[in-house]
């Protein structure tokens, strides 16, 4: 039988409708479509997809189970390697990971591995009624700082090995970037909550409203009987460009804009947290966070939303699917443009004019692509005299973050690099301080959910070995 050359399409909400609501965009495969998509897998000998997965899920094995209509069996295979399959099936950049290695992809479109992973975990969440098997406790305490993807993964793996794990979260809700950063329309918060609840069933304690480095220090955690600590505190301070006008009213960091909306539910009328409902919005940056911010602004009612990015469409670091979704929804891409100034309203005759100090536009300079930089991406070169103003009333800066200083400032013996990232041994997440491990954005700077999960997983393994040898 000939192989279907294309992936089965993911059903989505109609672009016009979804651009005005916060419901999930992608609707997921039905069982029938999932089985048909699974049958596209060649079950090849080399299994290159497994190497493409940062947590090495046995991809052909779970796909084989789908072929046999054994969806719970498929879930069992995935959960051996991944703690958050419903999350990863939605937000992993599969096109640069597992799917980029797929043998079928040499001639045709690769197998829709991410879509299948999502199907399997949604099936499990909807249908599984049993209780997980709780491992016998070994009575040893491990602290995990941060309840984002790396922390949840590390906590889950250690709990499954019998450790008594406590997760400390600074915010009032667990989930880290999965709840404050990634919007509802891409990752419903009910899914994150299910994953957190599942961990609690394994005996993991989650302590919210605890800022490690302030409320309690790493050294004090050891004093309380924790034998190892994993730091997964995430990325921190948002970066700004340093151009004039960044303090005007209507300029947000993407973190603030998304936190107001995702964590604090500002889109909802019952929320007490305000957010600007702007008509024209410019989002500076080209990553997933920029796409999330742009699409959120659109859903809050904006007429025009621009992505301002200094390279071309080919260099956009965002997931391909997010860029496509954004384009379908009507986000406009002002590519090869570099902002030089944000312009604000100023009524010289009336200092009390309420419009004073609010954003009216962003001045950008055109760029062209020059020589590739050290990462191989072509450098943008500004074209002198090419400036023009885009009329906007809101500007969102989505140009990355630098690591949070709270833990490094209060933990003696914890080495950080000159960017402020915690220095670790790559394979284990071991830091310069005895018994302390770290992973995720706190180490790498802003990266992906799955890389953070991979780091959490490696660290859990290393912590287990460390504690077994320590006795």
């Amino acid at each position: 039988m000939a192989v279907e050359p294309k992936k089965h399409e993911m059903p989505t909400q109609d672009a016009k409708t979804r651009a005005r609501n916060f419901k999930e965009v992608a609707l997921g495969y039905t069982a029938e479509v999932a089985v048909a998509e699974a049958k596209r897998c060649l079950n090849c000998k080399n299994r290159p997809c497994v190497d493409g997965c940062p947590v090495n899920i046995a991809i052909p094995d779970f796909i084989s189970k789908i072929k046999e209509n054994d969806f719970e069996g498929a879930y069992g295979v995935i959960s051996e390697s991944s703690s958050l399959p419903a999350v990863c099936g939605r937000v992993c950049p599969q096109e640069t990971q597992c799917e980029s290695k797929c043998t079928l992809g040499i001639k045709f479109e690769p197998v829709g591995i991410g879509r299948l992973e999502r199907f399997v975990s949604d099936y499990h969440n909807a249908n599984f009624k049993g209780e997980p098997e709780i491992p016998a406790s070994n009575g040893r305490k491990v602290a995990v700082i941060g309840s984002g993807p790396s922390g949840l993964t590390c906590a889950g793996d250690l709990a499954k090995k019998g450790y008594k794990v406590t997760v400390f979260e600074a915010l009032h809700l667990a989930g880290g970037v999965l709840v404050y950063g990634i919007p509802e329309f891409r990752l419903p918060k009910s899914i994150v909550q299910k994953e957190v609840d599942a961990l609690k069933k394994y005996g993991v304690d989650v302590e919210t409203n605890v800022v490690v480095g302030k409320t309690i220090t790493v050294d004090e955690l050891f004093g309380q009987g924790f034998e190892a600590v994993f730091i997964g505190s995430g990325a921190g301070l948002p970066r700004f460009m340093g151009i004039p006008g960044e303090s005007l009213k209507g300029v947000y960091s993407a973190n603030e804009f998304l936190t107001r909306n995702n964590l604090m539910k500002a889109f909802n009328n019952d929320s007490r947290t305000p957010i600007m409902h702007a008509e024209n919005v410019a989002v500076v940056g080209g990553g997933n966070v920029a796409m999330d911010a742009a699409r959120t602004a659109l859903r809050l009612g904006a007429k025009n939303v621009y992505i301002v990015y200094r390279r071309s469409m080919d260099e956009l670091p965002a997931r391909k699917e997010e860029v496509e979704h954004a384009e379908e929804e009507g986000i406009r891409f002002e590519i090869l443009r570099n902002p030089v100034e944000i312009i604000g309203y100023n009524n010289p005759d009336d200092r009390r004019d309420p419009r004073n100090g609010f954003v009216t536009g962003i001045k950008v300079r055109k760029c062209e692509l020059g020589e590739p930089d050290e990462k191989g991406r072509r450098r943008p070169v500004e074209i002198a005299g090419s400036e023009y103003v885009i009329d906007v009333d809101c500007v969102i800066m989505a140009i990355g973050t630098s690591p949070n200083p709270l833990i490094k400032n209060t933990t003696a013996g914890l080495d950080v690099n000159n960017h402020g990232g915690i220095i670790v041994e790559e394979a284990t997440g071991k830091t310069s301080k005895e018994g302390v491990y770290a992973g995720g954005d706190a180490v790498t700077g802003a990266a992906t959910v799955i890389l953070a999960m991979g780091a959490g997983k490696q660290a859990a393994k290393a912590i287990d070995e460390y504690l077994k040898n320590k006795k």
């Binding site: 915010l171 009032h172 309690i216 960091s253 936190t259 007490r272 947290t273 309420p354 949070n404």
Partner: protein, 280 residues
């Protein structure tokens, strides 16, 4: 959930609460702040710590009832609970090497200035305090300031209590009379702090201001609390809330503080209407 162990009205618009939060109480120092949410839909608001009792495990907060959230907080009774309470956040007020200090507080800012004055007093420094209010009815914490100050001047705008006038007048007089302050620390409305800085600058007396911008997480994640200090972007939650007053761009901070003025007005009105309904 965090229990309100004590609630007391200090004046018709200012309330004091002691909240049970032993982890925070064990750590909090003068100059630091907490973030709280009143209920499950609530916004996160920062309030500077007004004192703590490590034995009882309580943290004292003093707030002015100005917006929707502080109105909601003020409806909570002693013995009831608030949803979230996290801290201590920010850096403590710097005290090293300061032997003689002038603390200048304005309005509800005096609640935050008090623990700072007490700390200097406990460290053996000479403490002069100048506290200012709109009128006699709004006066708070006079006895507490008296107890920890070598010299206390109370000012009211309308002269209904203490001396009539603004806080910068006695400050300028003291400086001109030869009081050699190592540091002036000022906490209150932005406009007052701006003028305190304008008063001390000609004499080049180091002046610390305590900033209280709009915040969400308070841990250095969202960037909402950014200020321009010495021409650089700083985050009040992790770099502050205390800053060198000579370097703070007050005009910008004042403008940013009004970003949600419309929303806040609506919130207040909505809350007041809600309250009217409940009373009926």
């Amino acid at each position: 959930m965090y229990r309100i162990a004590v609630k007391r009205e200090l004046n018709p618009t200012v309330t004091m609460m002691e909240i049970e939060a032993p982890l925070v109480a064990a750590k909090a120092q003068a100059g630091q702040f907490i973030i709280l949410r009143v209920d499950a839909d609530g916004e996160r608001i920062p309030l500077t710590v007004a004192g703590c009792d490590t034995l009882k495990g309580t943290v004292k907060i003093i707030f002015q009832v100005v917006g929707g959230t502080t109105m909601r907080l003020n409806t909570k009774k002693q013995g009831e609970y608030i949803q979230d309470f996290v801290g201590p956040l920010g850096c403590p007020t710097r005290t090293d090497g300061i032997k003689k200090v002038c603390i200048v507080g304005g309005g509800v800012g005096c609640a935050i200035a008090l623990p700072v004055a007490q700390k200097f007093h406990d460290l053996g420094a000479e403490v002069h305090s100048i506290i200012g209010f709109r009128n006699k009815d709004l006066l708070i914490l006079e006895d507490e300031f008296k107890a920890c100050s070598d010299k206390l001047t109370v000012m009211t705008d309308d002269g209904s209590y203490g001396r009539k006038g603004v806080v910068t007048e006695p400050l300028k007089e003291a400086i001109e009379a030869g009081e050699n302050y190592d540091e002036v620390i000022t906490i209150g409305p932005l406009i007052m702090m701006k003028f305190v800085v304008a008063t001390t600058k000609p004499y080049n007396i180091p002046t610390t201001v305590s900033m209280n911008p709009i915040m969400i997480d308070g841990t250095g994640m969202c960037g909402g609390c950014r200020l321009t200090v010495g021409g650089k972007t700083k985050f009040a939650c992790v770099d502050g809330p205390d800053f060198n007053g000579f370097e703070v761009d007050f005009d910008e901070a004042m403008a940013r503080g009004t970003m949600y003025a419309d929303f806040e007005r609506k919130e207040r009105e909505e809350f007041c209407n809600l309250f009217k309904k409940e009373v009926k």
